[in-house]
């Protein structure tokens, strides 16, 4: 029982990260029809700039806000400088561009912060809460809480504010939105900014996960979050969030309950488990958990 509780909470905190990354990825896809493969690099940049800011003596919450502003700004710059000039060009060209922007971002991060793994000090230390016999670190609980707050805030913004309505209109039909006087360009910029903020937050979580982290470890988390987008349904942000949490949970439970039955294939199963789930989903339910079935309109 305590095992299951510990695993569930670990899975939820992992899922929180996946949900944040996948939500940002999916929001950009909805707005610009682009798979933004540079999204994963923002995690590393978020984690690294957080260490620098904390070392510089900024209080933790302020540093977190600055980090999210930085990654958001980077995402907005990518949109303005790379994605927007590619309008009216085939979509795959833009996707290829984001792949190479990702390489550039990685190089820039390596030039600024070097290749050495770094440690992120956080205010939660090693303290843990005893819950029904299980030791639950406060750090993990805080991650889940902050992620839920961020996702909730994002959806409130999407549903209730002027900006959110503009975002939804833009993602439904850019030309009609433009004709109705919605500043599509600015809305797209804001969408990418918000998505970058979510990635930065996820990056800080990824940095907190291990005592030492480097760019590779944060990037791996981002790559494992991508399947959540398809499992949740490419066009459904809420489905993506649910899928993110589910993938986190299954990824934690799979090595414990599934791997022993799979022989040598089960070793390090968690590395690929999200992708296995994604492939199963594509076979059984290709439009995802909450995605819409494709309806052709001419």
């Amino acid at each position: 029982m305590t095992d299951i509780l510990t695993l569930t909470i670990a899975g939820l905190s992992l899922g929180a990260m996946y949900a944040l990354v996948a939500l940002g990825f999916s929001v950009i896809y909805r707005a610009s029809q682009v798979f933004n493969f540079a999204h994963g690099e923002l995690l590393g940049i978020g984690g690294f700039s957080m260490t620098s800011l904390v070392e510089a003596g900024l209080p933790w919450p302020a540093a977190l806000a600055v980090v999210m502003a930085i990654t958001g700004a980077i995402a907005a710059v990518i949109e303005r400088a790379v994605v927007r000039p590619m309008i009216a060009r085939p979509v795959f060209v833009t996707i290829i561009l984001t792949l190479f922007v990702a390489l550039l971002l990685r190089a820039i991060a390596l030039i600024i912060w070097g290749v050495q793994p770094r440690a992120l000090a956080d205010p939660f230390d090693e303290a843990a809460l005893s819950l029904a016999g299980a030791e639950v670190p406060y750090k993990t609980l805080a991650q889940i809480a902050i992620a839920v707050l961020a996702v909730g805030g994002f959806f409130t913004l999407l549903r209730r504010t002027r900006l959110g309505i503009g975002m939804r209109a833009t993602s439904t039909d850019q030309e009609v939105a433009l004709a109705l006087g919605i500043p599509v360009g600015r809305i797209l910029g804001a969408t990418w900014f918000l998505s970058g903020m979510l990635a930065g937050l996820a990056g800080v979580f990824a940095a907190m996960k291990n005592p030492l982290f480097d760019q590779q470890s944060t990037l791996i988390i981002a790559f494992r979050a991508f399947p959540a987008v398809i499992v949740g349904g490419l066009t459904s942000p809420s489905g993506t969030v649910i899928a993110g949490f589910l993938l986190g949970l299954t990824e934690i439970f799979a090595p414990v309950y599934l791997s022993p039955h799979l022989g040598s294939f089960g070793r390090n199963l968690q590395d690929i488990f999200p992708y296995v789930v994604m492939i199963l989903f594509l076979v059984v339910r290709p439009y995802g958990l909450l995605g819409q079935r494709d309806v052709e309109r001419l």
Partner: protein, 361 residues
């Protein structure tokens, strides 16, 4: 002036080498290909062999991305499948290499079709993410079964010429040998074989563009709904493209294994897929010529950049692999923004200048 001959029949339009200048170019190219292994030094010859491998792989990716408009991040996975198939067939059953390479392609095709069957069912570029998953899956499987990937992650790839060759008997294939009046060393022999494969790859791909299946791919790339309305099945066209592309990648992986003689699972990762994408973008998306030019340019530029990288500010602090990656990223982004058709586009402009001379256009 070399103007284009008047086209009066469909046969004229379909000819591979429509005029004198194509034939002159062909002759020059053949002379260059034949002369290269004897003129080039050892390190350039190795680069030449790598370029030939890259041509086969890039032509494969071009069929998928350039013709059918799908993105694959899993090209490295198919290279790995091809490479390890060749290695296992050679080591286990002593099969000759000319049987291993098509087998490598066939295994890659089978896996590609199985993946593509559900990844390509939907509209949109799902393939990009699914092939990323395939890449991790293939790596995981290879790592999990040492029978496939060799002990300590390394796999020897022997090269046999005919059935019944033994490892002892084939040892001298890697040495200098006399074939009649020609004395060839290992790299030169390999070069000859690879040139034949690369030419076959480019030629078949060129012919594919002139076939029904090829035109269907391009119709789907340009507008899948319109294509479907005209009776082209988008799923079928994309699936054929993915299958053919996987075959080429499998063969290229097999060639790579033969050339390297020892392959590791670690090599076949995402950066390799991205390199192949860089090649086709550099050459010009949408033409076989572009894939060939891009592959050659990539391999030789990479060789130059390895010497250039350490002397640039900031870049110096990066690992060598990333230095070249950064330089290529800048190049690819510049190409996509400034000259979307890459080397092929530049070539078209030069050609147009001379064709229209003395007028501007």
């Amino acid at each position: 002036m070399p103007t284009r001959p008047l086209v009066t029949r469909y046969e004229d339009d379909l000819r591979l080498f429509p005029d004198r200048w194509h034939k002159v170019g062909l002759a020059l190219g053949a002379a260059l290909l034949l002369g290269f292994p004897f003129a080039a030094g050892a390190s350039w010859l190795t680069a030449g062999n790598h370029a030939l491998i890259a041509i086969v792989g890039a032509v494969g990716l071009m069929i998928l991305t350039g013709f059918a408009g799908q993105i694959s991040l899993g090209h490295a996975a198919f290279l790995a499948i091809g490479g390890f198939t060749t290695a296992v067939l050679g080591e286990r059953w002593q099969l000759p290499f000319w049987l291993c390479l098509p087998a490598a392609g066939a295994v890659a095709t089978a896996i590609g079709l199985a993946t593509g069957l559900f990844a390509l069912r939907l509209r949109g570029l799902y393939l990009a993410i699914v092939t990323l998953g395939l890449l991790y899956l293939v790596q995981h499987t290879l790592d999990a079964y040492p029978a496939l990937s060799g002990t300590a992650g390394e796999k020897q790839t022997p090269m046999y010429v005919s059935f019944g060759d033994t490892p002892e008997g084939m040892r001298d294939i890697y040495e200098k040998m006399a074939y009649g009046p020609l004395i060839l060393d290992w790299d030169q022999k390999l070069y000859g074989i690879f040139v034949a494969i690369a030419l076959a790859a480019a030629w078949t791909a060129r012919n594919l563009t002139r076939s029904n299946a090829g035109r269907a791919m391009m119709a789907v790339r340009d507008h899948d709904l319109a294509a479907a309305t005209l009776g082209v099945s988008p799923v079928r066209a994309k699936l054929i493209a993915f299958g053919v592309s996987s075959f080429y990648a499998g063969v290229a992986g097999g060639m790579f294994a033969l050339e390297q003689r020892t392959i590791t699972v670690e090599y076949f990762q995402l950066p390799v897929s991205v390199e192949y994408i860089a090649m086709i973008v550099l050459g010009g998306i949408g033409s076989v010529w572009g894939a060939v030019a891009g592959a050659i340019a990539f391999v030789f530029l990479a060789k130059l950049m390895q010497t250039l990288g350490p002397s640039l500010p900031y870049l110096r602090s990066l690992p060598t692999g990333l230095q070249t990656a950064v330089l290529f990223s800048v190049l690819v982004i510049a190409v996509l923004v400034i000259e979307p058709l890459g080397l092929y586009g530049i070539w078209l402009r030069i050609k147009r200048y001379f064709v229209a001379w003395p007028f501007r256009y």
